[in-house]
């Protein structure tokens, strides 16, 4: 494999929220195949700055796949072609010399574009504020093994807790549904003893907030699961529906 490649980037540029955007084409030569995708964009931005142009705005923070800041639609796939890989973990060796790479922001009414490739994901924060927490007094840290949690529940809760809230599930879903995100948060709590006291109100409030924020409705295409950089299982969505029904039937969902 050659150590460097030439690529052509088609990048969505938009000056601000609500403004008309357009694709700009940028040829980029001699990109190291060891560069990460975001490093490649850093190189592009240095070139743009050196020629007096506006750099491309994009989000990133940890660059090690744990914070959920990064997120780009790369050639029509959320976080690019690899499974369970966030954009910051994608590398240029995944591309070939001469490739044209189309880069777009997440697109959803609930994720308005702020600038270029940066979208406002505060709708997720508001869903969390609606119920993605514990407000009961859980006391001091208990002794180890004082609260027994079946391994299967602990594992499933941990798997759900791996969600980094990047929004790839919304971006990849044809309905722009946020149900994988919401189900990961709901099932993370619902499976643990500390989360159980508030489980009925939690699921009802988070689902209501999700609808209110204008996300679309899940039609079980499982595209979210395939796009998720953390491999959050679609079965969380099926569990959320049971959780939701349980809350409705308990009559405690509106307290």
């Amino acid at each position: 494999m050659s150590e460097s490649i030439n690529v052509t980037l088609k990048v969505w540029r938009q000056n601000g929220p609500g403004e008309a955007g357009r694709f700009e084409t940028y040829p980029l030569e001699n990109v190291s195949t060891h560069a990460s995708f975001l490093e490649m964009l850093d190189i592009l931005n240095e070139k743009l700055i050196n020629t007096g142009k506006m750099p491309v705005a994009f989000d990133s923070d940890c660059r090690e796949g744990i914070c959920g800041s990064c997120g780009l639609m790369i050639d029509g796939q959320a976080h690019g072609p690899d499974r369970e890989t966030a954009t910051c973990q994608l590398h240029m060796r995944r591309f070939s010399d001469g490739d044209t790479i189309t880069i777009e922001p997440w697109r959803a009414r609930s994720f308005p574009i702020l600038k270029d490739l940066v979208v406002d994901r505060s709708a997720f924060d508001r869903i969390i504020e609606a119920g993605g927490y514990n407000s009961i007094n859980a006391g001091n840290a208990p002794d180890a093994n004082a609260i027994l949690i079946p391994k299967i529940d602990a594992e499933a809760a941990m798997d759900a807790a791996a969600c980094i809230g990047c929004g790839a599930c919304v971006a990849a879903c044809k309905n722009a549904s946020a149900l994988l995100f919401v189900s990961a948060k709901v099932m993370h709590f619902a499976r643990l003893p500390q989360g159980k006291p508030e489980r009925e109100t939690r699921v009802a409030r988070m689902v209501a907030k999700m609808d209110e924020e204008g996300f679309g409705s899940c039609t079980n295409t499982t595209e979210c699961e395939a796009a998720c950089p953390k491999g959050i299982s679609f079965s969380n969505i099926v569990s959320l529906r049971r959780e939701s029904m349980r809350a409705q039937c308990s009559g405690r969902s509106t307290r």
């Binding site: 309905n175 149900l179 689902v207 209501a208 609808d211 679309g216 039609t219």
Partner: protein, 219 residues
């Protein structure tokens, strides 16, 4: 809370799933009756007996109204859902590619289109056989009426295409409805998916075989 909707998107999908699954039950029962046509002995006595018994049932009007309600609720809510989802992404992507290796025409992506074709087929079918709008020769035995309709090339074509697309609708729809109902974890879902494939193929082949059989063999 202001403007709180009467039901959430999760409940809406639950109702879509229940109506879809009940309609699956209906088409399965309907197919079982139709397949009696293959018993040609004694001038289709088996089918005629089944049809006459069915038509004479006192409860039939209630069942018909129930079916009508199922269709109206199913179509009404799926259209509403489709509309909501279109609003959720006003501006689409220039490029979009599935990470599951599935194309834009995968069953899961064209449920509304397969549904509309099924609706057209159901309406034609009702006009033909429930209300006798196109063929109304009096005094025919039920089997003769059906054969008369299926001999008509337009009906034969529509019925074949409609049956195949109903199967395609159920290819995604059957297993999807179980997930909408919150049924199953990873292993059960795998089983439901296999059953769904078998069910949808059986429905498509079963229904489509009749117009094809009549056209090719029963001239």
């Amino acid at each position: 809370m202001k403007g709180k909707p009467f039901f959430s998107s999760v409940v809406q999908k639950l109702v879509i799933g229940i109506t879809g699954l009940l309609l699956c039950g209906f088409v399965a029962a309907h197919l079982a009756g139709n397949l009696l046509l293959y018993s040609t002995s004694d001038r289709y006595a088996a089918f005629n007996k089944y049809a006459t018994t069915l038509h004479d049932m006192t409860l039939l009007p209630a069942i018909e109204i129930g079916l009508l309600v199922l269709f109206v609720v199913h179509i009404g809510l799926t259209l509403r859902m489709q509309f909501q989802s279109q609003k959720a992404r006003p501006e689409g992507y220039a490029v979009q590619k599935s990470k599951q290796g599935r194309g834009a025409l995968a069953a899961r992506n064209v449920m509304h289109l397969s549904g509309i074709v099924v609706l057209a087929f159901v309406l034609l079918h009702l006009a033909d056989l429930r209300f006798g709008l196109r063929f109304n020769e009096a005094g025919l035995a039920p089997a003769q009426t059906v054969l008369q309709v299926l001999r008509d090339p337009i009906s034969a074509m529509f019925y074949t295409v409609g049956s195949l697309l109903l199967g395609y609708h159920l290819f995604h729809g059957f297993q999807s409805s179980f997930q909408s109902l919150g049924f199953g974890g990873e292993r059960l879902t795998r089983i439901v998916k296999i059953v769904g494939i078998l069910f949808s193929v059986a429905i498509a082949v079963g229904f489509a075989s009749l117009p094809i059989w009549v056209t090719l063999l029963r001239k």
